[in-house]
Amino acid sequence: MSKTAFEIHDMTVAYHRRPVLWDIDFELPEGKLVGIVGPNGAGKTTLIKAALGLVPLASGKVEIYGKSYQEQRHLVGYVPQRESVDWDFPVTVRDVVLMGTYGRLGWFRRPGRAERDIADRCLQQVGMASFAKRQIRQLSGGQQQRVFLARALAQEAQLYFLDEPFGGVDAATEVAIVELLHTLRSTGKTVLVVHHDIQTVREYFDYVILLNMRLVACGPVETTFTNENLQKTYGGRLTILDEAAEAMRQREPNR
């Protein structure tokens, strides 16, 4: 029985008191590729952000290898959505990848030779070594995504969260990302991936988290990624949940 890499206990996340994720509860073993699947607005990104402490929890807790996020920061790598940053920012590809090493360095310390070597190695791993000195503005969408992945690699984490890495990338990048995921798994890393394309879930992932404001199912793809569960996930929201959320937002019982 392998270790539990990531665990969420009865977590509820709310924006302005209106819950967007209800009582999420699951745990994931180490060394799995995990797809997070659900319709738009299901709370997939919110799940990741809550796990990383970027949005406050209304209740419940998140554990990474048995401890809180604050204690285990160094074990976690994060790839936000590509659109969340300004690609006009005056930095080179290598600068961006170097940012992956900042967490380990802590406050005040500057990255040095060792960190630059790590950055170059990670760029090589995603096939972007020749772009190291380019300004990030000049990259295509797929290249931007690879740079973000290289940055995550530079974090040298155990547990990775990737927010839609396959969004709007070319076929070559998609293949490169899948290869990278396999490399990560073979070195015992756990990777959670927000994923949109249900066609490829079986092919890419070992585990799947089906989400639609609540956890529909979580488990190995063979047993969990069933038609029945998919129907529950995509068959519209639960009206009662929506009504309850609205009532909580307005802070009065529904009449």
Partner: protein, 433 residues
Amino acid sequence: MDTLCQSLNPLPTVALSTGSWIVLTGAATNVACALVGCFLVLRRMSMMGDALSHAVLPGLVVAFLFSGSLGIVPLFLGAVGVGLLTTFLTQTLHQYARVPSDASMGVVFTSLFALGVVLVKKFVGGLHFDIACIYEGSLELVPFADPIFGLPRPLFTTLVVVVVNLAVLVLLWKELKVSSFDAGLSTTIGFSATAMHYLLMVLVAVTTVASFEAVGSILVVAMLIVPAATAHLLCDRLALMVTLSALLGVASAVLGYWAAVYWDTNIAGMMTVAAGVLYGLAVLFSPRYGIFSTMIRNLQLSMKVLREDLLAMLYRVEELGSDKFLTADEARQAVGSRWLARWGLAKLYRTGRIERAEGHLRLTEKGRSSARQLVRSHRLWETYLVKHLGLPLDHVHEPAHRVEHFIDEQMRKELQIELEGQGQDPHGREIPE
């Protein structure tokens, strides 16, 4: 009596000409502003400078009331307080009261400024707290201010801020960089983007306050943004951008002083104008985004297209195998634009792609091989359009004519594979190797 506009005092102990003191103070202010301004611009918070420069007023008044003087320390404490308070209020309004962020900024800063005005009228009645002076500053009077360590007070204050800003930038360079680029990542790896935001706002408030006395609020607001925005147009490395914006600040001070003396007008205002002019020049001539450079690039591209069209045309004539060759005149007519065509032909002669024989134009071997690649691109593309987009035959020439100039060796190979080595274009002409 203490005033924001300094009264006349003996000259400072370090002997420099009046003009030098003014330029030095202006330059120091601009550098202090540019250092933090770069991060404002990159975080798309340019208007925060404007807003904070108004909001600090009540902080200054309160600091003055508590300390009874306009000494540097209480002024800075007031600025820090206001910087923190305004940031907190704006964020809280935005987050909890669900006010849109621009509106919450507008509400907080205007209200604080109004509060400041009220406080001045109510409690600082006896003091000469000149509002016009806050706008325009009093750079002209800097050389006559009380000296501190031999430097005029405003210059000394500003230099302190330059050092503080520089120290923060050097110490927290990577933290500022990552939190400005990717707030999410920054927070998850332990450098709270919110904390960095507060820090930056405090620096902006302190810089604003220190610069007020000498240069007034207009110059402060401009200098926070304009040199940084100019530098952003001109370079694509953060360190370079910060350095360049500081240099642009110094240049604006020198040029502005010189122009103000020449036209005998307000110095701070002229320095701002100088910064604006430099920005305008950058917009026109920046190598990457400049209007001028874009025009040149477009012209170069159309010249390339025209030359390639000439080559392809000669190739096609050759391909027909007739005895007839084009004269230079006919070629120019065929591609339209005669002057540009003359220019294009000249370049083709010069690079040895065509030669003149008995009044006709002929491809050299070098020219023929360039032309062959071009025609190959054209026909591959036509074939691709018919096969994969299902376009009718009479619709493929024009698009291929446009696209052929942008298809490189790599794409030709890909097309070749995609078309499974088809040797003829849809019109039945051979696709040259």
